[in-house]
């Protein structure tokens, strides 16, 4: 293809996106569009799968059968999200095994929030309320993103995440209205998860390297700072409602702006965790790599069995 032809295709492509048309896997797309989508969708899929670990940590210790069942169902949803996000990614011409490889080798990232430990039951509430809450704010705009399979996956993901967020908040309500010990547990969890949740919405706009291109492709529709402000404005009243205190002495309602002012975020901590030195980065990766390696003989068996079944069928047909 000549350079001019490619340029022509690119112009048509950008025009389609501008018209809000969906790009489907078999459509022509610029290589950069493909790569950016593989990166973002796989990162999202990895986050769902790694995210199963901190919550899975409490399945065997959930305080009641009702909570245990709800937690299991929630984590199962996350696994399901992982599954169809990997599938969406595969439509771009990359296999799940390759994506796992990227995760296990440290080449691909996942949401840094899952590198924090879940040390009390209240963390199950805080994760649902804050982490899933922040995820929804990040993801709702993606229901209208330009790449069809991703947009459709996000519609379903967002519905389920919103259920998880309510479930997490409900755990917090129960604790906040419980005994002093339970209330302390809830406050402690909020103290530990608040700042990492704010960081989850990404570096400040000035530091964000992917924003401009992603905005053009509707992979991003609001800047990180706008999303963060939206999250804070939405979450602070929810904390007040149940008598919990946001761990930010600078947090103050700004009448003029119609939103909250908040204190400085410790970006050094953010980059430390992103670069692999958070409290649980090593444990999370170790758990994933171990599951993958220890499962190899199982996957090999399934392949060998399927192969044998196929051969038998073919023989019968002859």
């Amino acid at each position: 293809m000549s350079e001019e032809q490619i340029k022509n295709l690119e112009e048509q492509f950008e025009a389609r996106i501008a018209r809000d048309e969906k790009i489907e896997p078999k459509d022509w797309m610029p290589e950069k569009y493909r790569q950016t989508h593989i990166r973002q969708i796989s990162q999202h899929a990895h986050s769902e799968v790694v995210g199963m670990l901190p919550e899975g940590n409490w399945i065997t210790r959930a305080p009641s059968l009702r909570r245990k069942v709800a937690l299991l169902a929630k984590i199962q949803d996350e696994a399901g999200h992982g599954l169809y996000l990997y599938s969406a990614c595969e439509t771009l011409g990359v296999s799940r095994d390759e994506l796992y490889d990227q995760l296990h080798s440290g080449k691909a990232k996942y949401s840094s929030i899952f590198n924090y430990p879940t040390i009390t039951w209240a963390d199950m509430g805080a994760i649902g309320w804050l982490v899933d809450g922040a995820a929804i704010i990040n993801q709702v705009p993606l229901c209208n993103t330009s790449f069809g399979p991703y947009a459709r996956a996000m519609v379903r993901v967002c519905k389920e995440e919103s259920f998880h967020q309510r479930q997490g908040y409900e755990i917090m309500i129960k604790l906040a209205n419980g005994t002093p010990e339970q209330k302390d547990m809830a406050q402690d969890a909020l103290n530990r998860w608040w700042w990492p949740s704010l960081m989850m919405l990404g570096p400040t706009d000035a530091e964000s390297i992917h924003t401009e291109q992603s905005m053009k492709w509707k992979l991003k529709r609001k800047s990180n700072d706008d999303l963060r402000q939206q999250f804070i404005d939405q979450t602070v009243p929810q904390a007040h409602l149940i008598g919990l205190t946001i761990p930010d002495p600078d947090l103050k309602w700004n009448e003029e702006k119609g939103s909250y002012d908040f204190g400085p975020i410790d970006w050094d901590e953010f980059w430390q965790v992103v670069k692999g030195h958070g409290p649980c980065n090593k444990e999370r990766m170790k758990a994933r790599v171990e599951a993958w390696e220890e499962g190899e003989w199982v996957r090999d068996a399934a392949m060998a069995y399927a192969e044998k079944q196929k051969e038998r069928k073919e023989k019968q047909a002859v």
């Binding site: 059968l65 009702r66 909570r67 069942v69 299991l72 599954l83 005994t179 003989w297």
Partner: protein, 251 residues
């Protein structure tokens, strides 16, 4: 307690699902593939759902103000009456699948009989559970076949697991006092009548999977009397942790 036999009978059914559900829950996030991970979590979820129905009914029968969670999480080790099979650890995927398979075949046979119970609550729970357990059995049987007739390594691993777990199968067909009383009243299932069919069904799957049916005649028992293997204590320590550490609170 007026209906003590019925109460004990319900625990005898539900404790199996509680302990097996807990074991399957341990695997969450650590499965050999995302699909098996989801399936194992799903089985755990189904089992806990069934447990809740049974314990809620048991709590009603007892009528002493105890809740489903008190029954699930606040008994002493010797008061759990699950069979030894379900408490065996997740040594590797072969053991998890072997344990699941050996229990599923029994579980489905049992529930199909329980559905005929004169006790309408038990019958209704059985009906609801049959649908789920049919799926469990299909899932675990399929994996027995894949592992048995897969690679040499998988064949050896699943054969060892079946050989080791076999010793816990006979207990499934032991009758307790509560069992006998409930059979007499047309409420309970006579598990002794399920035995031949069970071994026949299990053997069929093993044969299809190119696996040997163990010939050992030595079996372990005791779970139904609350005499467990050393594994159960640790499982209960996790299961009960919150209720023990923070007593009398609502969650």
């Amino acid at each position: 307690m007026k209906n003590e036999n019925l109460y004990k009978y319900i625990l005898g059914i539900a404790d199996n699902s509680l302990i097996l559900g807990q074991r399957m829950g341990e695997l969450c996030g650590h499965g050999p593939s995302l699909e098996t991970d989801i399936a194992c979590t799903n089985i755990s979820l189904d089992l806990f759902g069934q447990v809740r129905s049974f314990y809620q009914y048991a709590a009603k029968i007892a009528g002493d103000g105890k809740t489903e969670d008190d029954i699930a999480m606040l008994r002493k080790e010797r008061e759990y009456v699950n069979v030894l099979l379900v408490e065996q650890p997740n040594t590797n995927f072969a053991y998890s699948i072997g344990r699941q398979f050996l229990f599923d075949v029994y579980h489905l046979l049992f529930l199909k009989e329980l559905e005929k119970s004169k006790d309408l609550t038990l019958s209704a729970i059985a009906t609801k559970s049959i649908k789920e357990v049919s799926y469990h059995q299909r899932f675990s049987s399929d994996w027995i076949k894949r592992l048995g007739d897969g690679t040499n390594e998988s064949h050896q691993k699943i054969q060892s697991a079946i050989d080791d777990l076999w010793t816990y199968t006979d207990e499934l067909f032991h009758q307790t006092g509560a069992d006998k009383a409930m059979v007499k009243e047309g409420i309970g299932v006579n598990v002794t009548t399920l035995k031949d069919k069970y071994y026949h069904l299990v053997k069929n799957v093993l044969v299809e999977s190119t696996l040997k049916t163990p010939e050992s005649k030595y079996f372990q028992k005791g779970g139904k009397q609350g005499i467990h293997t050393e594994h159960l204590g640790y499982l209960l320590a996790e299961l009960q942790y919150m209720q023990r550490a923070y007593p009398n609170m609502e969650w």
